[in-house]
């Protein structure tokens, strides 16, 4: 069970990445009532360039345990971006249940500001460090793009063409998430937002506008999964559903680009009795795709869905109840920690100012990897 969690996000953190990491980890350990001697499983993910600007810290599986003073018996690196945080918790839970380990520490995050200041995005880090992402790079990365924004813009454009989805409908997602963010102390953006504000913000990559795009921040999230509840006051939550799917094709080779692997990772999930949905929100279009792919509505009807349903935390189908990463920010270009932390806050009645009344079951959906290659769907509840 998850007995502790913590998250800290900053627009820009002035200290070292390791200092920020240890602040978060020790907060999570305090909640779980464990110390570094109790940790025997370590799970982490990291993105090149988000540890003090170094392309890769040398052997992170040495550096992280050394710095935190932990001696794991088991180390696992899960590196498919957004959903990695969910997968780490799931795998940790399995290992704890099997008796292989007692207490695991799961870490996700880093400093995005170094890359941002150098105008590097998660998808262009290869150009910055002169490394290659795929064997086909020389046949398509010679073009001028602005990935990942341009890639998601292609999806949004095609979604518009195929289904008549409007800019205003996508904007509604940002507007409702902002309503949720206004009273969330973790939120970076708290001023009210209108559809007009969103659609008159700067066009970054047609049709996506500035207020539909996540802001990369510095931050970490840490989760403790343990056999022992000790003095932790958290509810003994279980993972009621877990599915993961990986579509490694480059988007031009997919049958169509308006689907995500969520359609596969969520296969068989029951949407009844779900009190809140925490959906990966790198862009407004990402949320729209997940709404359809999970099955909240049929493919192509996501626009109408967000127009008609109240998706605020007080509404009939609460989505991204804390404002999502569009408002909290995206630590190290991976938002899995943000949505998982929000789910745990909701389930433990800790979501001050944006609590969904009687939240007992929360669905979390992560999307990640370059060009939406990975999806993980998870339902948490007691």
């Amino acid at each position: 069970m998850i007995t502790g969690f913590a998250g800290l996000t900053y627009k820009k953190f002035e200290g070292s990445t390791f200092q920020l990491l240890s602040d978060v980890v020790y907060n999570a350990m305090e909640m779980a009532s464990v110390n570094s001697n109790d940790i025997d499983g370590l799970f982490f993910t990291m993105l090149s360039g988000t540890f003090d600007g170094k392309a890769n810290i040398h052997f992170p599986s040495f550096q992280i345990p050394a710095f935190l003073g932990i001696k794991p018996r088991y180390i696992d690196i899960v590196d498919y971006g957004g959903p990695s945080a969910l997968t780490m918790v799931y795998r940790a839970e399995k290992l704890v249940n099997s008796g292989e380990i007692d207490t695991a520490l799961c870490i996700v995050g880093g400093k995005g500001s170094f890359l941002r200041e150098n105008k590097v995005t998660a998808d262009s880090v290869d150009k910055f460090y002169n490394i290659s992402l795929t064997p086909f790079d020389e046949f398509f990365r010679v073009y001028e793009d602005m990935n990942p924004v341009t890639d998601y813009a292609l999806v949004a454009k095609r979604h518009q063409k195929l289904f008549g989805t409007t800019d205003e409908q996508r904007a509604m997602i940002a507007v409702n998430q902002r309503k949720n963010a206004i009273n969330n102390e973790k939120s970076l953006y708290k001023s009210p937002l209108s559809v007009k504000d969103v659609i008159s913000s700067r066009l970054v990559s047609d049709p996506l506008r500035l207020l539909e795009i996540v802001y990369p921040v510095d931050g970490f999230h840490a989760f403790i999964v343990s056999k022992h509840q000790r003095n932790s006051n958290l509810r003994p939550l279980k993972i009621h559903f877990y599915g993961e799917a990986h579509w490694a094709e480059m988007p031009p080779e997919l049958p169509d680009i308006v689907y995500t692997p969520t359609i596969e990772s969520s296969k068989g999930v029951s949407l009844e009795k779900i009190d809140a949905f925490e959906l990966y929100d790198s862009f407004t279009i990402t949320v729209l795709l997940e709404i359809e792919d999970i099955g909240l509505t049929e493919k192509g009807k996501g626009g109408k869905f967000v127009e008609e349903k109240d998706t605020t935390f007080k509404g009939e189908i609460p989505i991204n109840t804390g404002g999502g990463s569009l408002n909290v920010g995206q630590p190290a270009f991976m938002s899995g920690g943000v949505i998982l932390e929000e789910a745990l806050s909701q389930l433990n009645g800790m979501a001050k100012g944006h609590q969904v009344e009687g939240a007992n079951r929360v669905l979390v959906n992560g999307i990640g990897g370059w060009n939406r290659g990975h999806a993980v769907t998870m339902v948490l509840g007691e």
Binding site: F139, Y143, E144, V155, K157
Partner: protein
């Protein structure tokens, strides 16, 4: 083998021809060079030359280094799709044809709209 295919691609492109691969076992067509068919894993592949005509699968505009820049996915008449820059403002479904530009001493395909667009 993979390196040979890549070399053939580069040669063809430098001669302003758009290559693609057809799997002789299952008929799958694809652009990004591989020496096994990603669909049926056959090694029985053939590098072919596209007629160069296709249509816009999706397109976006952003402010690039030289102003308005168009980037998209193009679906070729032979059935494969490729990422590319596109020369002008087009809609999804508009017909395009391939052209070649020089980039870092090599020719690469880009697309322009056909007639009136």
């Amino acid at each position: 083998m993979f390196d040979e295919i890549k070399k053939e691609y580069i040669n063809l492109m430098n001669n302003e021809k758009l290559p693609y691969i057809k799997c002789k076992s299952c008929g799958n067509v694809f652009f990004y060079p591989r020496d096994y068919c990603p669909k049926c894993n056959s090694k029985n592949l053939e590098v072919k030359v596209s007629k160069g005509d296709g249509k816009v699968f999706s397109i976006t505009k952003f402010q690039g280094k030289k102003g308005d820049t168009y980037y998209g996915i193009v679906e070729m008449d032979e059935g494969f799709r490729i990422y590319s820059n596109i020369k002008n403002s087009l809609e999804i479904g508009d017909k395009v044809t391939v052209e070649f530009i020089e980039e870092n001493g090599r020719k690469i395909p880009i697309f322009k709209g056909l007639s009136g667009t």
